[in-house]
Symmetry: C2
Subunit: 173 residues, 2 copies
Amino acid sequence: MKKRILVDMDGVLVDNYPVFFELHEKETGEKLTFSDIEGKLEAEAFVNQRRWVNTPGFFRSLPVMKDSREVLSRLNDKYEIIIGSLATEFPESMTDKQMWIHENFPFISWKQIVFCGDKNMIKADIMIDDHFKNLDNFDGVTILFTQPHNKLVMETRHMRVNDWQEIGKLLLK
Amino acid sequence: MKKRILVDMDGVLVDNYPVFFELHEKETGEKLTFSDIEGKLEAEAFVNQRRWVNTPGFFRSLPVMKDSREVLSRLNDKYEIIIGSLATEFPESMTDKQMWIHENFPFISWKQIVFCGDKNMIKADIMIDDHFKNLDNFDGVTILFTQPHNKLVMETRHMRVNDWQEIGKLLLK
C-alpha cells in the first residue's frame, strides 16, 4: 500500500510571497525584503494580508512554487498524494483554491483534495507544511518547508527542506 | 479526550429529498413517492439531480433534517463534532455548504468542518452517514442514517438509525 503524503498549499505549492511583497508596496509604498520579515507570520509581516486572502479570486491567480509541479507529478506515482488546505477559515476561497489545483496540477483529481479547519483530523504518513501549528501535532513524518516566517526557528523536530528539489531528493530516492 | 464524530451533511443534516421530489415534479410533471425510489441512488431516482447539485446556490437553501439541530447541539458538548462532506466533486458547492452550516448550526465553528474527496482520509471514532461508500471502509463505529437509497439493504455491518432522535438515544445515554 502506498504511503500517503499530505501536501500543504499556501507557502508550499503556492508561492505567495512575491505577490504579498508586490501588493504591500503598491498599497503602502514600503518596499519590503525577505530579511525585513523573517520570523514574522504573514499577517504580521503584511498589514493588509487578511484583506487580500479574503478577496474572492485572490487564490486563483497565485504563482506555482518552483519545481513543485515536476516533483509532485513524480511523487504522485509513488505515493498517495493529498493536497490539503486550512481553507474553511476563508469559505470564499475554496472554489478558487480547487480551480487553482486543477489548472496547475492537472494530474491531481478532486478525490485527492481536502479543505478543513484542522489538519490533525487528516490521516497521512507524511506531512509537508510550512506552519508549526500543522506539523507539531502530526503523528507521522513531518517535513518543514522553509518560508520567511519559520526561517529563524532552529528546528529539530521536523526535517527542513528549502525547495522542491530537496523534497524530491528526500522522497524519490 | 472526547471521542470524535464525523457527521455527514446531505441526507443526514440536510433533508434533500423533499426538494428533490418538488424539483422533479416541476421539471418532468412526474410525481414520485418514497416507495418509487427505494433502493435507487439519488442520481438514479431523479434524472436532473446532478444538474441541481451543480447549480450555484442550490445547497444554501436546503431544509434542515428534523431534530438534527437540537441533538447535534447536545452532541457538540459531549463529543468533538466534525461535519464532513464529499464536496470537492462539486467545487462550486463548498462556500454554499459552509454558509449553510453556519446559518443552521451556529455552534459549529469553521475548525469543525471538512470538505474532501474521500472520507477515509478523516480520523474519527464514529461516523454517521447515509452512504455505504463512506461507511464500509471506515475503521470506527459506523451509524447508517436511513434514506430511500439505502432502505432495502438488510444491513448488519452498521448500526441503522431512522432519525436524529435515535441518534440521541444511541450517543447521549
